[in-house]
Amino acid sequence: MKGPNASASTKPFKRAFLKNLLLSLQDCSRATPFDAMSLHDRKRAVKSSADVAMAAARGGGARWPKAILPHASAATTACNKAQSCRRIVRRCFCHKGRGARRRVVVAATGSDVARRLVKRRTTALRKVIPGGDAMDELSLLREAMDYVVHLRAQVDVLRRVSEAVQKRSCDCDSLRDASPYLVQSGEELVEHDFVLFFESSVRKL
C-alpha cells in the first residue's frame, strides 16, 4: 500500500494512536468491565476509543481531528492528550451514538477553485470527512488526503491489535510457528516486534 507521502511518516502516528487507544479502552473498562457491558455498549466504547485516539494522535496538523475532538486543544503535550483522550471518551461514551462524527454546520467560504470544484460535487465528500462542511474546496482536498492516510494507519493498527490479541488467545506456540507478517510498505513492525511493542506499551501505561 505505498502512497506518495508517507508510509514512513505514519509510524509515530501509529504509536501514538495505539497508546491513546489502550488508554481509552482502559478508561472505559474502569467505568464498566468489558464483559459486563452489553454488546452494543461495548462496540460503541471501542469505536469511540478508536476515533478519539486517532484524532488525538493526529494533533494539530489538520482540521479533521478538531471536528472529532471539539473540546480538546490540539497543542497539548502527549500526557495531556492522553488525559483529554480519556475525558473525551467518557463524554463520547455517555452521549448517544457515534458523536465523534458530529458535523459542524458553518457556511463554507468561497474560493477561486469554486468553478472547478463546485459545491454539489463536494457534498458527498464533505459528509465523510469530519468538519468537512466548514471547509472551502481546496482545504477539503487537502484534508481528504490527510484523512485517508491516517484512516489507513488506523485500520492497520486495529488489525494488528486484533490479530495479536487473537493469536495470543490461541495456543501460545502458534506464535512461534506462525510466519511473521510480511513487511508492509517498508515499515518494520513485523508481528513479533509488534507484539513486544504492544505488550511493553501496555506495561508503560
Partner: protein, 93 residues
C-alpha cells in the same frame, strides 16, 4: 481560463496547485496502484475522483467499524486461562 483573484483578497490558487493536489489525492486511492508509473494523465475527471475518494473513505470507515467490533468481541470473550487474557488483564487493570 484566467485565474481571477477572489474578491476576499486571499491568494489566487493556480491551476497547477489544484492539479497537483488532485493527482496526489488520486495516487492515494486504490485504483491508482494498478497504474503506477503510468501516463500520469488526469484522465479521471474531478467528479469521478471525488466520488472515488468518498467511497474509499466510506470503505475505510467500514473497515474500522468491523475491526472495532472484532476487537470488542475479543475483549469480552476472553478465556480466563489463556495467555490472551494476560494482555487484556494488564490492559484493563
Amino acid at each position: 481560463m484566467s485565474s481571477r483573484r477572489s474578491s476576499r483578497g486571499s491568494a489566487a490558487i493556480s491551476e497547477e496547485e489544484i492539479n497537483e493536489l488532485i493527482s496526489k489525492l488520486q495516487s492515494l486511492l486504490p485504483s491508482a496502484r494498478g497504474r503506477r508509473g503510468g501516463s500520469g494523465s488526469q484522465a479521471a475527471s474531478t467528479t469521478k475522483l471525488l466520488k472515488e475518494t468518498c467511497s474509499y473513505i466510506k470503505s475505510l470507515h467500514r473497515e474500522v467499524d468491523d475491526l472495532s467490533d472484532r476487537l470488542s468481541d475479543l475483549m469480552a470473550g476472553m478465556d480466563h486461562n489463556s495467555p490472551g487474557a494476560e494482555i487484556i488483564r494488564s490492559l484493563l487493570r
